[in-house]
């Protein structure tokens, strides 16, 4: 296993120690239960926006804690959703009296752990709303399955809801906004290589030199299908087509395009992908009004990409442009 780590079991702890040393101006880190919280939390009268999930997706979620985005984030073990006590403590730490929004990615483990945390928090008299993100069109949505995964739209929802909370909107308004983003956002991802979970020590799956996985999630799970590697343009077409036709987005719609690196794919390739994604969106009559390009929701060192498209209206554009000051996302401040 080729990683710059010490003991696999210390990866998350030592990462958090690094975050403390780097970002104490922005965040505080609480250890067991582990959570990262805004240095100035709780903020009286402001809705607290928190999220969490397994580690290995950095900068999501911990890197998005700060002014204009998350009030707290709970990192679980690598690819393992955090436990209810983490979410409960984080919820208490950010409650400024206006209630707390839990942004939950749609995974059985996350759902169950966050549900329990929400129940416990309500038990302690904190108003909690939970919104589940499930934007991954690679997975069929159905009552009889775990449903679609929550992927790239989570990052966009955290930015937009965080901005709304800064405006002192009510818990209900911020939660409705989160549902709106989830309803208007769609994603799909692919992998050129697997990733190696530190405590496992070898790749989760083997991928021959000339093959790729289409429709992967963010936990190194194999995707929907495996096929021979195609060109960047062909791959972007394979990702964009199911996204555009899912909602569907209509000619004239304004959209944000988010081209994400799974961790090991460098920026030079992301621009090549964005170029094609922008071209396809434009051919469909969509107006690309905003973009996000980089490694924001990763799967350890996996080489690959995911594309997320979010339909935008003036409200979302304003909230997207609002100042944000976090270790992982920053502008206007």
């Amino acid at each position: 296993m080729k990683k710059l780590i010490n003991k696999p079991e210390d990866v998350v702890k030592e990462e958090l120690e690094g975050i403390v040393l780097a970002h104490s101006d922005l965040v505080k880190v609480h250890f067991d239960p582990n959570f990262i919280v805004r240095a100035d939390a709780p903020i009286k009268g402001k809705v607290g926006v928190i999220s969490g999930g397994g580690s290995g997706h950095e900068p999501m979620h911990g890197g998005f804690v700060g002014m204009g985005m998350l009030d707290a984030a709970c990192p679980g073990a690598v690819f393992t959703s955090p436990t209810p006590d983490q979410m409960l403590e984080a919820t208490k730490a950010v409650d400024g009296g206006a209630g707390v929004l839990h942004i939950v990615k749609n995974y059985t483990g996350d759902i169950m752990n966050f549900e329990m945390a929400a129940d416990l928090a309500r038990g302690e008299g904190i108003e909690v709303e939970s919104v589940v993100i499930d934007d991954d069109v690679a997975v069929k949505d159905s009552l009889y399955t775990a449903g679609r995964r929550g992927v790239g739209a989570t990052v966009l929802a955290e930015k937009i809801c965080g901005a709304a909370a800064e405006q002192r909107r009510s818990l209900k308004e911020v939660a409705d906004l989160c549902r709106k983003v989830n309803g208007w956002g769609r994603s799909m991802g692919m992998a050129l290589t697997s990733c190696t979970v530190p405590h496992v020590g070898k790749p989760t799956f083997d991928l021959p030199e000339d093959e790729m996985e289409i429709g992967i999630g963010i936990h190194g799970e194999p995707g929907r299908k495996r096929m021979k590697i195609k060109t960047a343009d062909e791959i972007v077409e394979m990702l964009m087509e199911p996204i555009i036709t899912d909602i569907p987005y209509k000619a004239g719609d304004q959209v944000l395009i988010f081209v994400n690196s799974m961790g090991g794919t460098p920026l030079i390739e992301l621009y090549i992908l964005y170029r094609k994604a922008h071209e396809i969106a434009t051919q469909h009559g969509l107006k690309v009004v905003r973009h996000l390009i980089g490694p924001y929701i990763t799967s350890l060192e996996m080489a690959g990409t995911s594309i997320t498209m979010l339909k935008m209206d003036d409200e979302l554009i304003k909230l997207w442009d609002a100042p944000v000051l976090t270790p992982g996302l920053r502008w206007g401040a």
Partner: protein, 210 residues
């Protein structure tokens, strides 16, 4: 009779077995999940072992509830809340008890498994731990009704769990992470069903009366 000490032995032995089978369970999870089930369960039961000193002399209900709470705050993922639920619910049914009859155990594990059903909403055949737990429970109840011996009843439930576990292999997952693979999930044994089988197999071994 299943004494408190036998219950403690069972939990201790299961923790040992999880440590041994950690990589095996993780490999099963790597094939159709995210390669953490073994590590999660091992981490959880190592934490349980640390709690042992303070629960040694407690009643079975308290022991089960402590195990449940410990798993809840250390395992995470889907496995955490589900195994936690099994022990928390079983704990409710065994409050104050210092030993369990076969029927007590049936009631306890039934409550635990119903808890898993409620939390996870999985049906038999969804390729989850339910596929090992439900057949095991049915075998156990059957045996209890027929008044078979404790050893025999536990052995049958372990066998039923094993069959249920093996039967998950051809299934296409409809719940949990494996469901994302669709057809590709077929041909792999479910990790959670495997850890559940091990739990019941260990009970049959540890609680055998000579």
């Amino acid at each position: 009779m299943i004494t408190r000490d036998k219950v403690l032995d069972w939990i201790t032995r299961y923790a040992e077995i999880l440590a041994e089978k950690r990589d095996y369970l993780t490999q099963l999870d790597a094939a159709i999940g995210d390669a953490d089930h073994g590590a999660n369960m091992d981490r959880g039961f190592q934490a349980v072992m640390k709690k042992m000193p303070e629960i040694r002399d407690k009643d079975i209900g308290t022991i089960f509830k402590t195990v449940g709470m410990t798993l809840l705050s250390t395992v995470g993922g889907a496995g955490g809340p589900l195994y936690s639920t099994i022990f928390l619910q079983a704990g409710m049914k065994t409050t104050g008890k210092l030993e369990m009859t076969l029927q007590d155990w049936v009631d306890a594990i039934e409550a635990g498994i119903n808890g898993v059903k409620m939390r996870g909403k999985a049906e038999l055949g969804d390729k989850t731990m339910i596929d090992a737990l439900v057949p095991a429970l049915n075998a156990l109840k059957q045996a209890a009704e027929n008044g078979t011996s404790l050893n025999d009843a536990l052995e049958r439930s372990a066998r039923a769990a094993e069959e249920g576990m093996l039967a998950t292999t051809p299934l296409v997952a409809r719940k949990g992470r494996a469901s994302y693979l669709g057809e590709r999930s077929a041909g792999h044994q479910d990790p959670g069903a495997t850890s559940s089988f091990l739990l019941l197999r260990t009970a049959a071994e540890q609680w055998k009366e000579s």
